[in-house]
């Protein structure tokens, strides 16, 4: 689950209004939330806090039953990150690694047996429709293929929290719907899911509570 209480976040060395100010909301374990708001509202910034890429400047954040503050030991933050699956807006694949090696990264970081990794990676790539692109270098993929690789990497290790930043903007409608159905299913199986999007049609397909941001402030907290 996620609990934020009065969280503000300011970029390093950046004065003035913080990128996020005074956010308070709660998402139970297994909850699904849309993350909405105009471009520049702070959706990616909020996800970076939930992914522990950045720490709150003010307020308290509790993620997967762990308090995240500047005092939290690094080792704990590392373990927390391993339990989160993140689909970045810009994918962030390793360009020189194959699709399969990219998707295998979270499993290898957890030191899973290699034969188990092979099975999992092949299964998930087949599911996202990349079964025939397994050995291709990530830098040679189309935008949609990169996005599907990034999605596969975010869910392959069955994280307790999935964060997706516009995960369907490079996908065709059937693929987007298939992905959304998977997210809904994972959430009903106990995974917390947050999906940032601009896509109205998608929201209509899976009506769930929304967190709405506007200029760094929460105008709708999903209750």
């Amino acid at each position: 689950m996620i609990r934020m209480n009065g969280v503000s976040w300011r970029r390093e060395r950046k004065e003035g209004t913080p990128a996020l100010s005074n956010l308070s909301f709660e998402v139970p374990q297994g909850g699904f939330r849309w993350l909405l708001g105009p471009s520049g509202a702070g959706k990616t910034s909020l996800l970076s806090l939930l992914h522990v890429e950045n720490l709150p400047t003010d307020g308290t954040l509790c993620l997967l039953d762990k308090d995240v503050t500047t005092q939290t030991p690094r080792a704990l933050l590392v373990r927390l990150r391993q339990r989160i699956g993140m689909v970045h807006q810009d994918f962030r694949l390793m360009p020189d690694l194959s699709v399969a090696d990219n998707v295998a990264l979270p499993l290898r970081l957890q030191h899973r047996p290699e034969d188990e990794i092979t099975d999992e990676v092949h299964a998930i790539l087949k599911w996202v429709g990349l079964g025939d692109r397994i050995g291709v270098r990530a830098s040679r993929l189309s935008g949609g293929e990169q996005q599907r690789t990034a999605i596969a990497r975010a869910i392959v290790h069955r994280p307790g929290l999935i964060l997706a930043d516009e995960p369907t903007n490079a996908l065709e409608e059937p693929q987007a719907h298939k992905l959304l159905d998977l997210f809904g299913e994972l959430s009903s199986m106990g995974t917390t899911v947050i999906v940032a999007t601009h896509n109205e049609a998608l929201i209509r397909r899976l009506p769930r509570p929304a967190l709405m941001l506007e200029r760094g402030r929460l105008v709708q907290d999903g209750t």
Partner: protein, 316 residues
């Protein structure tokens, strides 16, 4: 299908994504330079210590008309008259214990003179006797040696190497200073270039470090993977550079070998055989050359560890 599913057990199969091979080339070139400098410095030291050390103890004595009887000796001595050369040798026996006295044989003389006189053995030129005196360590020839010998056997010339040995020593010392300076400079530059090349290679991979961090890799894991990779590249590059430097080095040492010799007997215009060459190379130089790749590897490894950890520290 450019890359297969690597299935590597040890980590993340990152070798494709890690700092590239330009580091390898740079380190190879730097090690080549460092190896040459190291050898130059060692060579300078070897030559200068032998010259400066050997010259002080070395005397060369020439006795003209060596086989003539000593003037004045035959009048009082009824036995077989002593030759001038033998007389000098007898006098030299009074030098401090440990002194080596050696009269060059006809063959040795001939070999020395061949470059100037051709086949000297067959010339009718009257050759002087050449006596080489090597004093024991710490001893110097008595100051009046030349007068004493001259009084006994007139026309005896003592070549005091000690006089120019002090100049040689000064020369040797400045040579050594230059060599040390060159070694320090090249060592410093090599260290910096290796560190900079490592840095440049890493900065293009910074996004990868961030991705790994985001996926939940520990600092020590990321730094370790990158450090072993750069360390390995630096090791390979330095190994190549050092090996390439060995060819000119061996050639140089082979040519320098005759000059490094300190006694006349050992002096020979011939270069040593290739097979005996390793015995002539100073042990500490070989050790230095052998250490070079490991030093380069360590520089690459340590720079990477440091830089990657500094970057990671900026992220939570």
């Amino acid at each position: 299908m450019a890359l297969p599913f690597s299935g590597r057990k040890d980590g993340l199969s990152l070798s494709e994504a890690l700092p590239d091979r330009s580091l390898f080339i740079l380190v190879a070139m730097m090690s080549f330079l460092a190896a040459l400098t190291l050898t130059g410095a060692t060579g300078a030291r070897t030559l200068s210590t032998r010259w400066a050390g050997g010259a002080a103890q070395l005397l060369t004595i020439q006795v003209s008309e060596p086989d003539q009887p000593v003037a004045g000796a035959s009048k009082t001595d009824k036995t077989a008259p002593q030759t001038r050369a033998d007389a000098v040798l007898t006098d030299l026996a009074a030098l401090p214990a440990g002194t080596q006295v050696h009269r060059l044989t006809q063959e040795e003389l001939a070999r020395l003179l061949t470059p100037w006189l051709g086949d000297a053995g067959k010339t009718a030129l009257p050759l002087p006797a050449v006596i080489e005196v090597r004093l024991a360590e710490g001893h110097e020839a008595p100051l009046d040696l030349e007068q004493a010998l001259e009084a006994h056997v007139s026309g005896t010339v003592v070549e005091h190497n000690a006089e120019w040995s002090s100049r040689l020593r000064a020369l040797a010392e400045s040579l050594l200073a230059c060599a040390a300076l060159a070694l320090a400079t090249v060592g410093g530059i090599a260290t910096m270039i290796t560190a900079l090349a490592t840095r440049a290679g890493l900065s293009t991979r910074r996004d990868i470090i961030e991705i790994l961090h985001g996926l939940g890799a520990t600092d020590s894991y990321i730094a370790g993977r990158f450090a072993w990779r750069t360390g390995g590249l630096a090791l390979g590059g330095a190994l190549l550079g050092t090996l390439l430097a060995m060819a000119p080095l061996l050639l140089l040492f082979r040519m320098a070998a005759p000059f490094a010799a300190s006694t006349l007997q050992a002096t020979s215009t011939a270069m040593p055989d290739w097979r005996t060459l390793p015995d002539l190379l100073p042990g500490d130089m070989l050790a230095g050359l052998a250490a070079l790749p490991f030093v380069a590897a360590f520089i690459g490894w340590a720079t990477t560890q440091f830089m990657v950890r500094v970057w990671l520290r900026r992220m939570p």
